[in-house]
Amino acid sequence: MQQEVLNNKDIAVTREQGKRLLHQMILIRRFEEKAAELYTKGKIRGFLHLYIGEEAVAVGVMNALTPEDNVLCTYREHGQALARGVDPGAIMAEMYGKQEGCSHGRGGSMHLFDTKSRFYGGNAIVAGHLPLAVGLALSDKKMKRNRITCCFFGEGAAAEGEFHEAMNLAALWKVPLLFVCENNQYAMGTAIRYTHAVTDLEKRGPGYGITTASADGMDAIAMLTAATHAADQVRKTGLPYFLVCNTYRFRAHSMFDAELYREKSEVEEWKKRDPIMLLSAFLKDKKFLMDTDLKEEESLVETQVQNAVAFAEAGTWEPLETLTKFVYSEKE
């Protein structure tokens, strides 16, 4: 059990991989910009938590997983769902509350689920899904299934008791679980320095007997490198691993947030390391990407987002007659 120091560029990224990461990040960015717009138009209601600024984490980690692996996320999970390959139309329809949504419209933005891609939410009680992740990983170990479980959570969750319980149980029971902490610096509106006595969260891992590393969560290549290493470790050892990704949320916590708790200059400073910009520059430098490619990518994404919105618009409302469905399983 140790705190590992990872070399950012020790992975050979192919053109295809690089462009895939970029495509996914642009899709997340534009999809969420559209979601924010639709929110102001009243098409999407409830809570809407945007991921913009943190895209590198979702795409880096998701590309280190196999389709067989389990994924659990927080209520800020549009990015993970898109990167996992959940259909953008089904996600948008879910946010509209239409029955064609990926959770039949019953969940909304905070509860995107898609068992076909082993995507287990969309969990909106902070840290409440960590014990579930331990249980899923435990079931795979007991049933001798060759898969790992990946659990995303924020630095806010790392202050909860369930973080402690889940870390201890995962290490004690030796389950294949990748803990991915997305440290976006703010638990809603309270900065990490006001919520954690020790802000280098990666120092927590070894205390539980869990190998740990931190990664630059603004850099998609660094994230892919770190997550690939971490996932490989979990696969190889069958043991949990704790990966802390230092990142930043460019947008407000939710659509109700006036952002009184941080300076605009701080946001601007982080935007200088916009993950899409960083990856574009990296790929251009490698001659993997031309300006014309970027334009093409943007137009491809625009079509995807338009199609998603059209799918959601064309979706239907669940009839009142089935309101009390899904409380208990129907008899087979």
Binding site: Q99, Y120, L138, E162, Y328, S329
Partner: protein, 332 residues
């Protein structure tokens, strides 16, 4: 073992132990986890010997992490297993209430029917061993309030032997209330006892004058009270609710339409209790069948005190049940 063929004499503890053992033998997806269930043999010796027989993979001692291991049980159920999670006493279940109320009870719904949670959570409950305020809770009404859960109360030896097995076949989360005050109590049950219907209340004693409706630790008390009343010429029907959610309203209505009178007995605090609910349902459905107002005997609304005489006075006793029923007839 009794001398009578086809009947065996068992303690309530032994009946539960046999049920767990049978469940473990029948289905390899089933395992038992909880605090002290293995090496200690169970806080109340219910799982004594099972670790030796089934090994540590099937009988898992857990740390004192109620939220963590109840959540892990829910996660393992999501992963296709059929876990039995033991919460040592119902008093500690509040530490896991978030997992039960926000995860187990909601996942089927939030996912639009994609994720079901076939977990069984056993809790020992009850009052009468001078354990004072923090170890004497009757939380049946609390859990019975939550849609998505099935809540069972083990009031007899037959149910101690059978309920767990049926609960494990259920695709949805089941909470099983067991009663520590009954553990050493012996009774005869058919030797072929096994899985039983867990959707219905059961009339434990037929009668025509009054319906004595109860559950859990109240069932045997009610039967003794009914025997005493019989010698005074009052023919009492004892209805064991067994299922506290979803309630078997038909059984209650059928009994009341026969006897035209009802007394509801429970240990839980009177306000917002199971008896409040039963009383309301009788008013809604069977009002014109009644010859007398519905009466209730419940726990006094006080944290349960330590001294024996005060503890006994806090919950309904056999003599109070007898007096309450006599009073109903005197006022007729």
């Amino acid at each position: 073992m009794s001398a009578t063929p086809n009947v065996m004499r068992v303690t309530y503890r032994e009946a539960i132990r046999q049920a767990i053992r049978e469940a473990l033998m029948k289905d390899e997806r089933t395992f038992l986890m909880g605090e002290d269930v293995g090496r200690y043999g169970g806080a109340f010796a219910v799982s004594k010997g099972l670790l030796e027989e089934f090994g540590p993979e099937r009988i898992m001692d857990t740390p004192l992490s109620e939220s963590g291991f109840v959540g892990a049980g829910i996660g393992a159920a999501m992963g296709g297993m059929r876990p039995i999670v033991e919460v040592m006493t119902v008093n500690f279940s509040l530490l896991a209430l978030d997992q039960i109320a926000n995860n187990a009870a909601t996942l089927l719904h939030m996912t639009g029917g994609q994720v079901n949670v076939p977990v069984v959570i056993r809790m020992s409950s009850g009052i009468g061993r001078q354990l004072a305020a923090q170890h004497s809770h009757s939380w049946e009404p609390l859990f019975a309030h939550i849609p998505g859960l099935k809540v069972l109360s083990v009031g007899t030896h037959e149910d101690a032997r059978g309920m767990l097995l049926t609960a494990l076949l259920d695709p949805d989360p089941v909470i099983l209330f067991e009663y520590t005050s009954m553990l050493n109590l012996e009774a005869e049950i058919p030797s072929g006892s096994g899985a039983i219907d867990i959707t219905r209340a059961k009339v434990r004693r037929q009668g025509k004058d009054i319906s004595l409706i109860t559950y859990g630790a109240g069932v045997y008390k009610a039967l003794e009270a009914a025997a005493e009343l019989a010698s005074a010429g009052i023919d009492t029907e004892v209805v064991d609710l067994r299922v506290l959610r979803p309630l078997d309203e038909d059984a209650i209505a059928a009994s009341v339409s026969k006897t035209h009178r009802a007394l509801i007995v429970e240990d839980a605090w009177r306000s917002v209790s199971i008896s409040s609910e039963i009383s309301a349902r009788i008013m809604e459905r069977s009002f014109y069948d009644l010859d007398a107002p519905v009466r209730r005997l419940c726990g006094l609304e006080v944290p349960i005190p330590y001294p024996k005489h005060l503890e006994d006075a806090s919950i309904p006793q056999q003599q109070q049940i007898v007096s309450a029923i006599r009073n109903i007839f005197q006022h007729d």
